[in-house]
């Protein structure tokens, strides 16, 4: 057994044979004993009691349990599979049972284990519980983060209308949006981030399979090449336009900033959301070909940075404090900066995407933008209003998908499950 696997075992606190996928149905509150590592979901998993290897360096497991869900403040992994689901059952109990099954499966997968009875060795006549393509791969810092969309709270569905947080608004239409309903919305979402794309895809595939009959995938997005970092001391990655963007992102270790801008507080409107956050996802198509024939000067003016170093206009280093007034009034950095938005700050977690080429031979590529914040009415919405109206970048991009989810607090232990506070 490798060190990584050992770390995963310890982290997950599981022992003995795994419950089968079918057996999970009846679990409810019973659960297993847990030697939980209750970390804030923020930083790297560390193998307890021995030479501390940060998970970021080892591909090991990120703790699943904690006050906040992992996958928000967690150091951003390299790959993404984001899936939005419609809930197809009308039965609240079935939905609750599903959330419990999903939680148990997520515990296992984030620890690097197969789902249920595994991918082989079971009954010859039955399909295996686990789909098997992640066998032999490391946990790869897989995080699974769930969110609940506004439509889940609709009247006459699951009796949740009184629990809908005021902050979970339907996003307004922004100028220039060209949203595809088939790439927007969803009752539930699961964000799977991992350093190995196969690990992320495996996780969504298994959850989708477990959910069949109760949920159906509405849309999903693969992402690569993280476009922002929650470890600002590291270099800011580049987007598909070749620019660094999001230099001022919130650090995953900056507890004060996270509490102020990301985590829902106890006095915010919905009690069940305390410790949670609000997620906005936008599929932003980039017009790659026209961008590529744009002069370097214009490219740099559009962003308000230089292309090589990523420094703001007139500055020499990426992290030098920008002088906003030196930029064009329509420069992206100037418009997006907290100083231009009454301090509105979001935690960005976006990824680049390329879904091959479209029927016209154009690269179907862009940014799958993900932002976490305490309240979109004070963060994403005013920010995007400003950008949609003025950003010079709009000539080269279009928002084609959109979704907003309430992301509940973390799963505390083996008895807890995704959404317990909402449904109890």
């Amino acid at each position: 057994m490798s060190d990584q696997t050992q770390a995963a075992e310890t982290t997950a606190g599981t022992a003995g044979p795994a419950p089968s996928r079918r057996a999970l149905l009846g679990w409810g509150g019973a659960g297993l004993a847990l030697g939980a590592v209750a970390a804030g979901g923020a930083v790297a998993a560390v193998r307890p009691g021995s030479d501390a290897v940060p998970a970021a360096d080892s591909g090991a497991a990120v703790p699943f349990h904690g006050a906040h869900q992992a996958g928000i403040a967690t150091a951003v992994q390299d790959r993404l599979h984001f899936a939005a689901f419609d809930v197809t059952t009308k039965d609240r109990a079935e939905l609750v049972a599903l959330l419990k099954e999903w939680t148990r499966a997520a515990e296992r997968m984030t620890a690097g284990h197969a789902v249920g009875d595994g991918a082989y060795g079971g009954l010859a006549e039955a399909p295996p519980d686990d789909t098997g393509e992640a066998l032999g791969l490391k946990p790869s810092r897989l995080t699974l983060t769930i969110g609940f969309g506004p439509s889940l709270f609709a009247k006459g569905r699951f009796g949740l209308e009184d629990k809908r947080p005021e902050a979970l608004v339907d996003l307004p239409k922004f100028p220039g949006d060209n949203l595809d309903a088939a790439r927007s919305g969803g009752d539930l979402c699961v964000q799977a981030c991992a350093d190995d794309p196969q690990v992320a895809v495996h996780a969504i595939r298994n959850l989708a399979r477990i959910g069949m009959g109760r949920t159906a995938i509405r849309w999903s997005q693969l992402g690569f090449g993280k476009t922002s970092s929650t470890t600002p001391d590291a270099q800011t990655p580049r987007n598909m336009f070749g620019f660094k963007d999001g230099t001022r992102n919130i650090s995953g270790t900056d507890t004060a900033a996270l509490d102020k801008h990301v985590w829902v507080g106890g006095k915010d409107d919905a009690g069940w959301m305390t410790g949670g956050s609000y997620l906005v996802a936008r599929r932003i198509r980039m017009h790659i070909e026209t961008w590529d024939r744009t002069s370097l000067q214009e490219q740099e003016d559009v962003f308000g940075r230089d292309k090589g170093e990523g420094a703001a206009v007139g500055k020499s280093k990426e992290h030098d404090e920008p002088f906003l007034k030196a930029m064009l009034p329509t420069a992206h950095v100037r418009l997006a900066h907290p100083d231009s938005n009454d301090g509105a700050t979001i935690l960005r977690r976006g990824y680049s995407f390329t879904d091959g080429t479209d029927g016209l031979g154009r690269l179907d590529a862009g940014l799958f933008f993900i932002a976490y914040q305490r309240d979109v009415r004070k963060a994403f919405i005013p920010l995007q209003r400003r950008l949609a109206a003025h950003d010079a970048l709009n000539e080269y991009i279009q928002h084609v998908g959109s979704a907003h989810f309430a992301v509940p607090p973390g799963v505390r232990d083996k008895d807890d499950w995704w959404g317990r506070a909402l449904f109890s």
Partner: protein, 378 residues
């Protein structure tokens, strides 16, 4: 259909073909020492021995009745071990077969019709795989269903192929979807023969280089796309009928087990998921929902027959399956005027969002259905 199918049904059928049984009939009097004497009359079927050692057996049949008869040796699930048809009154015939240990039946069918007059036959010796009586019952009933579907299909197919042969486009279009229903309900069994499916149900893109395109979809294209029936199409109609006759004759010999029934049910849903939901199957006639319904009905038949066994082993599974079958059927009902009819909305008119809803409902059923085989066998 799919070009290659490695299903349990296929595998089992292949094994059966290799090892089990040859039903050859000989003309000799065959009154050898070991032969079982079978005296067939209009109202009886007398058998001289009811217990035999495994291996080569010989039946010496004598028809002492007034009707033409046929004699079968059958597995407990009604699969044919050996048979001899057309034994005229006053004539004799010989049937030989290689038989493994197990329980069998001999059936005489005066007038060559019906269930026949049955006698037990025990073959002893090396152990044979044991199956519970309720499993045998499920398989026997399913075998009857499959045969009945084929029997009912032939006159409908005749109506269709006659209309094509006569160049009557409107009548042919009307008869088309109906002529396929029995086939769609029992497709995995038909496909287990390997050679029939590529003749009757292949689509143009499934053809190999040099393979001649025959069957339903060839005529479907002529009727809906080309909108004309030429000499070649008219000539292909009786070929389809002949190939379906072959299916009807052979379908009773298919190797069917509880596991193959369960997997066959899942495969029928897979057919829906890969061919019907996409609109590929009936790309010219757009009668996909008729096939869809046929596939679901066939799957449901297998399931209903296996349910008494499966529910003992996994009651939660059968509860889920009951619910999901009902949900899918309710959804399908939205696309037809009344529940008795097989007139469904043209698939062309089913929107993208509605197709996804159908697809989700198929997945919702097929996923637990994939666990039926295990629930039956454990």
């Amino acid at each position: 259909m799919r070009a290659v199918r490695f299903s349990v049904v296929t595998a089992a059928a292949t094994v059966a073909a290799l090892t089990a049984v040859t039903g050859c009939a000989q003309k000799s009097d065959g009154k050898g020492d070991g032969a079982v004497q079978v005296v067939a009359k209009d109202d009886s079927c007398e058998v001289s021995k009811k217990k035999l050692p495994a291996g080569h057996i010989e039946l010496a049949v004598e028809n002492k009745g007034s009707k033409v008869t046929e004699v079968y040796v059958l597995f407990p699930d009604d699969r044919i071990v050996a048979e001899r048809e057309n034994i005229g009154p006053g004539t004799k015939a010989n049937i030989t077969a290689e038989i493994k240990a197990g329980s069998y039946e001999i059936a005489c069918k005066p007038g060559m019709k019906g269930h026949g007059i049955r006698q037990k036959l025990e073959i002893t010796g090396a152990s044979a795989a044991k199956r519970s009586p309720e499993m045998d019952k499920a398989v026997a009933e399913y075998r009857t269903y499959v045969q009945a579907q084929a029997d009912e299909t032939l006159p409908k197919a005749k109506k269709f192929t006659d209309a094509v042969a006569a160049g009557d486009i409107e009548a042919a279009k009307k008869a088309y979807a109906d002529s396929r229903l029995g086939w769609e309900r029992t497709e995995p069994v038909a496909e287990s023969f390997g050679d029939i499916d590529p003749k009757v149900d292949i689509r143009e893109d499934g053809l190999e280089d040099g393979q001649k395109w025959t069957g339903w979809h060839r005529l479907e294209k002529a009727l809906w796309q080309d909108k004309k029936l030429g000499a070649e199409e008219k000539a292909l109609a009786p070929v389809l009928y002949k190939d379906l006759l072959d299916w009807q004759k052979r379908v009773g010999t298919a190797d069917i087990t509880p596991t193959s029934m369960a997997n066959g049910a899942k495969e029928l849903l897979d057919e829906v998921a890969t061919g019907k939901v996409t609109g590929e199957e009936e790309r010219y006639s757009h009668t996909d929902l008729v096939d869809f319904k046929g596939n679901v009905e066939g799957a449901e038949k297998s399931y209903e027959l296996l349910k008494p066994i499966a529910s003992k082993n996994d009651a939660a599974l059968t509860a889920t399956l009951d619910k999901r079958f009902a949900e899918l059927n309710t959804l399908l009902d939205k696309y037809r005027e009344d529940k008795g009819s097989y007139e469904f909305t043209s698939y062309e008119k089913v929107s993208k969002a509605d197709r996804k809803e159908l697809s989700d409902a198929v997945n919702a059923l097929a996923e637990p259905l994939s666990r039926l085989a295990a629930a039956v066998t454990k």
